[in-house]
Structures are given as structure tokens and as C-alpha cells.
Symmetry: none
């Protein structure tokens, strides 16, 4: 069922932790297919056999990483958004949280990106989860009249596309935190659109 075999001793937990951080690093930096179990084990300081105590598969670690990354990110966003008064404010905070998150975990960002080719199922699952919440939040805001008449799912995918590509361009490629003016312009855009009223 689960892709991970949870340890029963504290020593085991340490080992698992080492595997995960080695995998995260290499999958992100070199890519899933250019990373061997041996690579991961070397960095984790364990023997190849040990790996299979925790995961039955190479893809097991990958899935585990994607699932947990999804959870962590969603949790963090939900937490930060909680006290926002308006939906626009929520988007502001949500976008910022996302950009900060990938600035701190660029490898996780790249792992998600790879998921489409490594394991399409988990990739869809990831975006389905994110999308679902997003849609719900936007639909509510729409009912309050905060958001205009646009299919919330379309909007959700627009927002995800924007954050992903802007994050790619200014956070991942520049290896930096999101510049203030970029965040500002993005928010201006989603608020007012890009075209002058005549």
C-alpha cells in the first residue's frame, strides 16, 4: 500500500531521514534518471541493501518525496492564509509562500516538474490535490463577490501556471528569493489584468 516501510527504532528513523535528504538532493540536482540508488546510498552513508529495508523500489522514494512535499507545501500555505481578510490578500500571501518555499527547496520544485515523466499518476495526483483546494477557495470568494465570473478551475490553473513559471524564471534560474517588484507586478496582473480599459 504505502511506498515506505516505516522504521521501528530511532536509529532506523535516522537512516530513513538520511535516505530522504540524499534522494531529494540528487533527484533535484541531477534528475531522477541520472541518480542511481548507489548515488543515494553513498551520500546517505549506507549500503545498497539498507535502502531496500525502507523502500521496495527506486520509485518509492520519489513518490514519497512528492507526496510529502505536497503535504508540507499545502499545510504551509493553508496556515499562512488562514488569517487573511480578503481573497486577494490570500493570493498575495499564498504566492509569496510558494515562492519562498521553492527558494528554500529548489530541489523539491524540480522533483515535481519531473514527476510528469517519471510517474504521471503521482503528478496528476499532486496537481489534483492542489487544484481541488484552490478551486474551493476561489469558488467561495466568488460567492462573496470578491472574484469575478470565471470558472474557478480555469483560474486555479492560471494561477498555478503563473506561480510555476515566474518561480522558474526568478527563483529557480536566478537562485534567489523572488524580487519585490516581480511579486508586485504579478499581483497587479491577477488583480486588474494586463490590458487598458478603453
Amino acid at each position: 500500500m504505502s511506498e515506505v516501510n516505516l522504521p521501528k527504532t530511532s536509529r532506523g528513523w535516522e537512516t530513513l531521514e538520511k535516505i530522504l535528504s540524499a534522494a531529494e538532493k540528487y533527484f533535484g540536482e541531477k534528475g531522477y534518471y541520472n541518480t542511481s540508488i548507489t548515488d543515494i546510498c553513498s551520500l546517505a552513508g549506507i549500503a545498497p541493501g539498507t535502502f531496500y529495508i525502507y523502500f521496495s523500489d527506486k520509485i518509492g522514494v520519489f513518490r514519497y518525496l512528492v507526496r510529502n512535499l505536497g503535504k508540507d507545501l499545502r499545510k504551509e500555505i493553508a496556515l499562512n492564509i488562514k488569517n487573511c481578510k480578503t481573497r486577494l490578500e490570500a493570493e498575495h500571501v499564498g504566492f509569496k509562500t510558494f515562492f519562498d518555499f521553492i527558494a528554500e527547496h529548489p530541489n523539491l520544485y524540480k522533483i515535481i516538474w519531473q514527476a510528469q515523466m517519471v510517474d504521471e499518476e503521482i503528478f496528476k495526483e499532486y496537481y489534483a490535490h492542489i487544484g481541488e483546494r484552490y478551486v474551493k477557495g476561489l469558488a467561495e470568494a466568488q460567492q462573496k463577490g470578491e472574484v469575478t465570473e470565471i470558472d474557478p478551475e480555469v483560474l486555479a490553473y492560471c494561477f498555478m501556471g503563473i506561480t510555476n513559471f515566474v518561480g522558474l524564471r526568478w527563483v529557480i534560474w536566478e537562485k534567489a528569493k523572488i524580487p519585490e517588484h516581480v511579486l508586485h507586478d504579478v499581483l497587479k496582473f491577477i488583480k486588474e489584468g494586463a490590458f487598458a480599459k478603453d
Copy 2:
């Protein structure tokens, strides 16, 4: 210099064509790393050695595909946009062209996506080319007062993000042409934004 060794006979051209379409199909469907040269050669109906007459590398075909796909797509968009009166109309046509293109060549869409992990250089090159044109077009429109005061590069990456994610959701995943209402909503969004004026 170039990654392809151009043939000198018509038989050679046919062979090259067969390699390219086999590679496009498998790279898109199974992914670069799950496609072997043997797979490509079998489908192309050639011997393994023949492949290396045209490309020096497995990655050679991949690059060739990305570069040419980029060219084709840019050409098609440029052509269709040419006669647009306003920038908004141009975006409409551009978005539609993009969605139609990936509906017709879903494999090429997936090839680009993979490029980030297969060959980061070519991936950046691809988006740099697209982005450059985009920025230029938007900047001009801005000077005419058609587009509001937003850094054109930010806007360009927003638009690319939107088309990519919306395309992923409704074209690639649904294996369909873009639904009319989705395109409509996307355009409404980029025109007016998503938030109600107070």
C-alpha cells in the same frame, strides 16, 4: 556545430525523417529516459548503426526536436498574429494557436517539459527564445498604451505559465482541443484580472 548530420541523398533524407518521427513519438509517449535507441530504430525500421550516421548522440535527436519544435511553433504564431489589430486580439490568436499546436503535437509538448531534466541548457534556450519575442511584442503594445504598466518580462512568463498549465489540464490530460469556454475565460482573465473592483 549542428547536432544533425544532414544526408546527401534522398534515401538519406527519408531515413532522417523516419528517425525524427519515431523519436518524437517515443520521447513524447514514454519519455526520453524510457526510450532506447533500439526502440527508435525498430520503429524507424533501421539498424542501430544507422542512427549514428545522422546523430552523434541520443541527446542529439532530442535537441534537434526541441530546437525545431521551437522554430515551428514560433513561426506559426508569428504568422497568425501578423494581421491582428490589437495586442489583445494578438494574444487571443496566439493562445489559440498554441493550444491547437499542442493538441496536434502533444508529444512535442511533453518533450519540452522534459527538457528541463534532460538538457537544462536547451530548455532555457527554448524559453529564452520564446520569451524574448514575447517581451518585445508586449513592450510595443505598452508604448501604444494597450498594455498596462507591468514589467513585460513578468507578463510574458505569466502568459507562458497560463498557456502551459491550461494546456496541460485541458488539452494534454483531456486529449482534446481547448474547450471554447476555457479559452474565453482565460482571455477574460488576462484582460480584466480576476478580482472585482470595489
Copy 3:
């Protein structure tokens, strides 16, 4: 650093030993380039992958063999020479040791010979090591007045050339131990030269 990955278990040591003797046999008999890893592994009774646990390269075994052969031979000669009273006696013993060594390990002789084309670096290293010792020994003998006024390095290469070619002709080609009269004539030659005094 080292070209071999030393095993940590006794089973590992056995495997390494099997690889080495298979490689020595085939490299000598068929030549480096006519020997495949598969050949070596078959003879050693291991799977192809196992080879790469110990050596990272096909050339790795080759280098290892050359280096160790060099060491063994030098050690043996040094040992046998130790108690010689005169330099001439030392040469006698040294020549004999060399001829006996290659009679017993004809494959190693051929391995060295190949090194010039397989890996020039290691080939030079081999002769540099041998030559260095040789020169030192000859220079000392010269100071004692045992050896005439000839650049010791020239002499060293003359001696190495003689042993190699005579060894080739009467040991390797004849697949035999060096005939007594040949050894005798060689020694007479290096002692007195070949030309009559007038």
C-alpha cells in the same frame, strides 16, 4: 587514486584473484584489444557486472597488472642480486632472473610490450622505474671502478634492450627457458664487447 577497489571480504579477495589471473592470461595470449570484458568474466566465472566492483575500467586491470608485475619483477631481481660480490655477477643473476621470470610468465612479458600502444603513460612509468634502479646500481659500480666510463643510463637501456630482445627470441618464441649458451654469450658480450682488439 588506486585503480583497484580492494574487497572487504574473503569472498571478494577470491573474486579479485580470479579476475586478475583471467585477465593476465587473455591479455597475454590474445592481446588487450582482442580480449573482451566478457571473455575475462567468463573465464573468471563471474557476471559482467562483478568486474566493475573491482575495476572501474577495462584499462584498470591492465594498469594494475603492469604495475604489479613491475613490482614483483623488481623485487625478485633485487632479492637475488643482494648477495652478489661484483656488478658483473649481479648482471649475470639479474639477466637470469629476468629470463626465468618471463619464461614463467610469458603473458606478463607480452602485457608490458603492449603497454606502449594500450597506455603509453604506464609503459613509460614501467621503464622509468626499472631504469632508475638500474642507473643507480650501474653508477655505483662505476665509482668502484667496476664499470667503464659510459653514461649509466645509456648502458641501462642497452641492457634492457638486450634482455628484451634475447628474451623475445629464445624464451618467448621458443617457449623455453633460456639456453645456457645464449646466456653465456650475452654475458660475454656485455663484459668484453664484440670486437676484437687489434
Copy 4:
């Protein structure tokens, strides 16, 4: 019978010449096994198919080169030696001719060296031819009392060993003409030996 298919037109002779010099260069510089027919053809400026008009085999060129090199070298030595008064003078001239020859054709020197592993037959043939002449010359000199009582064949292989190793050390490795003092010391050695009379 013969390994070469001699051309009938002058254009053909030019092509053959181009093949030979390309092969000589690469076989010498990169080694027989690291040189492909394609390499040779590229350098010769011909198509792969053309190669097989002249030689039926890759090894064909190699043999041709060794045989002709042998002939040329023997001819040159014989010519230069002809007018020598004494055998010692003949050796002097012969050694010098050999060193000059390999200084000018280092690739040919390396080709011979390789022959032992590439084609043992031709290698033996080469040294048999050289040796035979050498033995004859030395035997005659012995009968005249110029050369001391040593098996001429042993002496011949000693001389060949000396020239080969000294040539390797000071001509091939140093990429230079033989230094005067080296030649001088070598001759002194073969004349008087290396050990002091008591």
C-alpha cells in the same frame, strides 16, 4: 596472395598513396586498434567504400606498411654500409642509419612495435628478415677475425635490442635525433663491453 590491389590508373596511385600515409600516421599515433577505417578514409579524403578497392582488409594496410617499411629500412642500411671498411664501422653507420630513420618515421617505429600483438606472423617475419642479414654479416666478420667468438644470432638480437631501446628512449620519447654522446657510448659499449679488465 598480396594484401594490396595495385591500381591501374594514375588517379588510383594517388588514392593508394593517400591511404597509406593516412594509415601510417594514425597507426603510429593512435595505434592500430584505436584507428578506424573511417579515420583513415577521412584523413585520406576518400569514402569508406574506396578503401576496399585497394585493400580487402583493415589488416591488409597494416601488413603492407610493415613489409614496405622493412624493405625500405633494409635497403637504406645496406646502401650506407656498402663502403664500410670494417665491421665496426658498418655497425656505426648501421646504428646511425637506424636512428635517423626512426627519427624521421617515428610512426613506422611504433607500427613495428605493435605488430607483435596485431599480427604476430608479420612481426616474426620482420625480425627474421632483419636478423638473417645481420647474422650473415656478423658471421663473415667473425671469419675475418673482426668479431669475437659469440653466436652471431645472439649478437644480432643484442644489437637489435640495443638499437630499439636506445631509439625508444632518445629518439621516440625525446622526439629528437639521437644525441651524439649516446651514439658514441653505445658504440663504445658494443666494442669493448661495459666492464673493466682486472
